[in-house]
């Protein structure tokens, strides 16, 4: 870019910037829009006039709304929280957390800030504003309709919190097991140049391409009848695997394994082999070398791979919807059940609120781990 020869004319730069802006709008608009919809009464949410959706006259008429004062105060609280997270917290962590255990400092600090924010934003602020709004006249009058009733319906009446818990169980299981098994395999494959290692990688590549429905067609009959064929081994209380979260975790780990081992292998290959050879010379065997020398430096790769395992477990619809029963259902299949019965517009907005609830954690995930996600996407590719 420093070279004069490659400098671009203004017209080209302008066009490029315009199209980039359009792309950003296209990328963010659907997500932004369903978020706005989820806070409105059904009449406003599905209004064909976009201004009605944004300002929500009928939501406002129902007595739910935000005044200019509310919005300003809300922005101030969010801004203070952002400052705390980006400025004060790193300083506090640097000052008080014991060296080597910085992450504990970060976890505790983030939790304190998060709880403080939730209490201020949802409990203290509304109470103060209720008192202030009548005093300020026009500034205190509602201008934007906003209601959280659909979120209450989803999380409390429709039992979405139970689905959330199931999602957490499944994703935590998938990430932990996937990484444990995958890290060992990735290291083994990276350090062995044998034909067998290559054959395993090729077979993993073939497995990566399989449609998941093919595999589920194989599991279903076996899982449903598992209490019969497990009885000789496990006796009377042999479990029926169908509907059990741990069976789904095992299935998702296996499905994810080809991707995990390819990715971790490429990370381990970027760690110089001289490092563990030095440890071997000092008298470690392979496992000790792995534990003492490789484990301290492998975390960037493991975190990135873990993120993608999390996404697989969290986003999955096909496997979880077919292999889990209603009681253990995760969030994504649960929402499919919600919109298939969307008979009234209220039901539809409730489904929208559920969709936004599923998306919100992913949004924060990208926010925190943007760099790791980008490096993960490019890791496999740039090598070719």
């Amino acid at each position: 870019m420093s070279s004069r020869a490659l400098r671009q004319p203004f017209a080209l730069k302008f066009t490029s910037a315009t199209f980039l802006a359009i792309w950003c709008i296209v990328a963010a608009f659907p997500i932004f829009w369903i978020t706005v919809m989820s806070f409105k009464s059904p009449v406003d949410a599905f209004s064909s006039n976009p201004l009605n959706v944004v300002f929500g006259p009928s939501t406002r008429a129902g007595g739910n709304g935000l005044s200019i004062l509310d919005i300003l105060m809300g922005i101030v609280v969010i801004w203070i929280t952002a400052r705390l997270m980006t400025r004060t917290l790193p300083m506090m962590v640097a000052a008080y957390a014991p060296a080597g255990q910085k992450w504990i400092g970060w976890v505790i600090g983030s939790l304190v800030v998060a709880i403080g924010f939730l209490v201020t934003f949802f409990a203290i602020l509304p109470a103060i504003l209720d008192a202030l709004n009548p005093v300020f006249g026009p500034l205190g009058r509602d201008i934007i309709g906003l209601t959280t009733e659909h979120y209450k319906t989803v999380w409390i009446d429709r039992g979405f919190s139970n689905n959330f818990k199931n999602s957490m169980i499944v994703t935590t299981g998938v990430v932990t097991v996937s990484l444990t098994v995958g890290t060992l395999a990735g290291y083994g494959l990276a350090r062995s140049g044998s034909g067998l290692a290559f054959a395993i990688l090729i077979i993993a590549l073939v497995f990566r391409a399989l449609p998941h429905s093919v595999l589920v067609a194989g599991y279903l009959p076996v899982f449903i009848s598992s209490s019969e064929w497990l009885a000789p081994i496990l006796g009377e209380n042999a479990p029926t695997l169908y509907g059990k979260p741990f069976a789904v975790i095992a299935v998702l780990v296996a499905i994810n394994q080809p991707f995990t081992i390819w990715m971790l292998r490429s990370f381990f290959q970027s760690i110089p082999a001289e490092l563990d050879e030095a440890a071997r010379v000092d008298g470690c065997n392979h496992f000790q070398a792995f534990r003492r020398v490789i484990m301290p430096v492998m975390w960037p790769g493991v975190i990135t791979t873990g993120l993608f395992s999390f996404l697989l477990g969290y986003n999955d619809f096909l496997v979880t919807s077919l292999l889990l029963d209603a009681q253990n259902q995760t969030m994504v299949p649960a929402i499919a059940g919600m919109f298939s019965r969307e008979t009234t517009t209220t039901d539809q907005v409730v489904a929208v609120a559920a969709a936004v609830s599923i998306t919100a954690p992913l949004f924060f995930l990208v926010m925190v781990f943007q760099r790791q996600i980008v490096s993960g996407l490019t890791a496999g590719a740039v090598k070719g």
Partner: protein, 340 residues
């Protein structure tokens, strides 16, 4: 690393893949040749209803499922050869339909309908994903350093979103008088219904997939653009190459391995198209191969899952994957041999 250590490291992973991928695959292949059905037996039932002067009695022959001592339905698994495949393919019906009404008649048979859509979808979205991905990457590369971070953040959102939810969010923008449908109606000055015919749904599904995958392509290409040799670009300028020629003869060849990589990943993923069908609730108009298998696996009203038909359709889906994989495997094999 000797074999024993290698086996200890790789063992758990290989074991899981064998148990949960290779074994199910083999069992699906076997299932597709067998059918498990309850045994029916015919019993004579005499049912009498009150009448005058005598009762009216009717003797019927009914077929009921046979029960064992515990009251469970006795099921028997029989070898049926290729029957399940025939049931899925419906070759005879398809052939007659084609003879009578031409190729479009295949649309009336689920498998052929699904195959047609899956292939169209895969082939149309591929160039779009590559084109948009490259375009976005070039634009991000052009942007000033300060806004690159936020732009990449926004670009990642469509990629990271749960596929079913992403499809739903687009669906809601168009459903009924959703704002984008309202916008199209205002623009065309006529009534539009996006979910009343197959082709508009197909367009929406493809648009959704491009929206979802283009960011991935863009970020990979953007990383590739960072490594373009600027000396080569400058000497191209000195040789009088226009902007377009530099793009064509320097940048694109440099990105070629990445283009192949993304094409392969996209072909694999697009062939498995499934979540869109759920998100757009389009099963009445548009279905895909993987959705067909899924549909056989979901219990019907009587609670039965047609496992053998699902297995047959799964195996037929696999044929496409196999064709897709051959060039990819060949390339990896050549790379491996070249690398050593």
């Amino acid at each position: 690393m000797n074999f024993k250590t290698f086996a200890a490291f790789v063992g758990p992973s290989v074991f899981m893949m064998l148990l949960f991928i290779a074994l199910p695959l083999a069992s699906v292949l076997k299932q597709s040749f067998y059918v498990t059905q309850p045994i029916y037996e015919t019993v004579e039932v005499e049912s009498c209803s009150p009448g005058f002067p005598e009762q009216i009695c009717v003797t019927e022959r009914k077929s009921v499922p046979k029960l064992d001592e515990d009251g469970k339905i006795v099921e028997v698994t029989t070898y049926v050869g290729l029957q399940s495949y025939r049931n899925v393919l419906e070759l005879e019906r398809a052939w007659n339909a084609v003879k009578r009404d031409g190729l479009m008649a295949l649309q009336s048979i689920d498998f052929w309908k699904a195959l047609r859509f899956t292939l169209t979808f895969t082939l149309i979205t591929l160039p779009l994903v590559l084109g948009f991905g490259l375009g976005i990457a070039l634009m991000i590369n052009n942007a000033s350093q300060a806004i690159k971070g936020p732009v990449i953040f926004i670009s990642l959102l469509p990629f990271i979103i749960t596929p079913v939810i992403g499809a739903l969010s687009i669906n809601w923008l168009f459903r009924g008088d959703g704002i984008l449908t309202a916008f199209i109606e205002w623009y065309l000055q006529r009534d539009v219904s996006m979910f009343a015919q197959a082709w508009t749904i197909e367009v929406l599904i493809m648009l959704y997939r491009v929206w979802h995958v283009a960011p991935f392509a863009a970020i990979v290409f953007y990383a590739g653009l960072q490594t373009v040799n600027s000396d080569a670009l400058e000497s191209a300028v000195i040789d009088g190459a226009s902007r377009w020629q530099r793009m064509k003869y320097v940048v694109i060849p440099h990105l070629m391995p990445l283009i192949i990589f993304i094409s392969m990943i996209h072909l694999m993923d697009a062939y498995r198209v499934f979540e869109e069908i759920v998100g757009f609730s389009s099963q009445g108009y548009v279905i895909s191969l993987q959705w067909l298998t899924y549909d056989f696996l979901v219990p019907d009203q009587a609670g039965n899952r047609s496992i053998s038909r699902a297995s047959a359709s799964a195996m037929l889906t696999m044929i496409g994957i196999a064709i897709l994989l051959v060039p990819l495997l060949r390339r990896t094999w050549q790379d491996h041999k070249g690398g050593h």
